[in-house]
């Protein structure tokens, strides 16, 4: 009879020696397996069908004011049952531990060319977009901020609190003449104190900004909703809200 406690220890000892793949391979983002590709294709076809059906029912509101921005819906997560069940493509984690955050983004999002490196107190600025490179240039809002993209900035916080940053940059800041309303609230995001501002403009733009206090650094997440810029298919404010809520602070 084999001593079972001994067996368990032997299993632990031996199997823990087996090598793990690189961490970036843990989540199936870079995999091109046959069934995943099939699932993505099915999701894409399903998404197109859903868009066509919805368009026929409600009218196509995805390209309001921007007829040239009619994009082919990529294979985005297709959810049923109130979003409880979603199918491929799976989100991709964009890891930036050196900047203090990781992001889960829909599988077809990418980092845009508008990202930039350090400049003064701005340590890093990245723009994540659901658009293709060709679509980037026509998706910029009136103030030069890419609309329907997610902008992530890392700043040296200095002496100012997140609230002071928010007051300076979000509410009553850059464009007071066009700002119709300005809403500011504090909340905790993934355990970090966060100030959220929502600035609505007369020209139907709305900017939502999260100022996350990370000690010596300040992490700023911002996105612009601009009705004059065609919204990428399947991207809604809820998409951004989910991305922000799933951020990993490291």
């Amino acid at each position: 009879m084999l001593p079972e406690l001994g067996i368990e220890r032997a299993f632990q000892r031996d199997l823990d020696l087996l090598p793990l793949p690189p961490e970036e391979a843990w989540v199936p983002a870079a995999r091109h397996g046959y069934r995943l590709a099939v699932a993505a294709a099915v999701a894409g076809v399903t998404a197109v069908l859903i868009v066509l059906i919805l368009s026929s029912i409600t009218g196509d509101r995805t390209g309001v004011g921007s007829p040239e921005l009619r994009v082919t819906p990529p294979p985005r997560p297709t959810c049923v049952d109130g979003g409880r069940i979603c199918i491929a493509p799976v989100p991709i984690m964009h890891r930036h531990p050196e900047l203090g955050y990781n992001l889960w983004l829909p599988g077809d999002w990418r980092e845009a060319s508008a990202s930039s490196g350090p400049s003064g107190d701005l340590l890093d600025r990245r723009v994540f977009t659901p658009r293709t490179a060709d679509e980037e240039t026509i998706a910029t809002a009136a103030n030069g901020t890419p609309a329907w993209d997610l902008i992530v900035e890392v700043w040296r916080r200095g002496e100012r609190s997140a609230l002071e940053w928010a007051r300076a940059g979000g509410c009553g800041g850059s464009e007071p003449s066009l700002a119709a309303t300005c809403h500011l609230e504090t909340q905790t995001l993934r355990g970090a104190p966060t100030v959220v501002t929502t600035v609505s403009f007369l020209d139907r733009r709305e900017t939502k900004t999260y100022y996350i206090d990370r000690g010596e650094r300040l992490l700023i997440l911002r996105y612009v909703v601009d009705q004059a810029i065609g919204r990428p298919a399947h991207v809604t404010e809820e998409t951004f809200d989910q991305i922000v809520r799933m951020i990993g602070l490291v």
């Binding site: 084999l2 299993f11 031996d14 087996l18 069934r35 995943l36 069940i85 799976v90």
Partner: protein, 156 residues
């Protein structure tokens, strides 16, 4: 219901243990990774009701996926290119005492043995995850242990 972000956290937490368990059962790095990715995607579509014993859930879903899995001919070259890594895993398992013991078992026996001795599941949990009766688990494990004992005797 586990949320998507919670699911991702739990998955990353459990990945090392479940991946190694799958390596021990499948003895193939690519199959193990593919199967675990499938389990991850399955959890995204329909997460388990609770996060207790998630390793067991991932493991069994992955094992089932590996049994169903196949590769089309167009991917044979990719498979050949990656086969060296799988050979290394087999060689490593053959050098390990536990790897040698498991080698003499069927894949199903290996799955249940690894579930019990490495992932720490009891008979009831194994039966629940694999969708079989507890008596079937007991019988399968008894056969597996008998074979492993024979292997130990032969080696000594």
């Amino acid at each position: 219901m586990i949320t998507r972000d919670r699911w991702a956290e739990l998955y990353r937490l459990e990945f090392p243990r479940v991946y190694r368990a799958l390596l021990a059962v499948l003895r193939d790095r690519d199959r193990a990774l593919d199967a675990l990715h499938d389990a991850f995607a399955a959890g995204l579509r329909r997460p388990p009701a609770e996060d207790a014993d998630l390793a067991g859930w991932l493991f069994v879903v992955a094992v089932r996926s590996a049994r169903r899995g196949f590769r089309p001919p167009s991917l044979r070259l990719e498979r050949l290119a990656r086969s060296r890594g799988t050979d290394e895993i087999e060689a490593l398992l053959d050098r390990l005492e536990v790897g040698r013991l498991l080698a003499g078992l069927t894949e199903r026996q290996r799955a249940m043995v690894v579930a019990q001795f490495y992932l720490g599941l009891d008979h009831r949990e194994i039966a629940k995850h694999f969708g079989v009766k507890s008596g079937t688990v007991s019988a399968t494990l008894a056969q597996a242990k008998a074979r492993m004992r024979a292997e130990v005797r032969n080696a000594s």
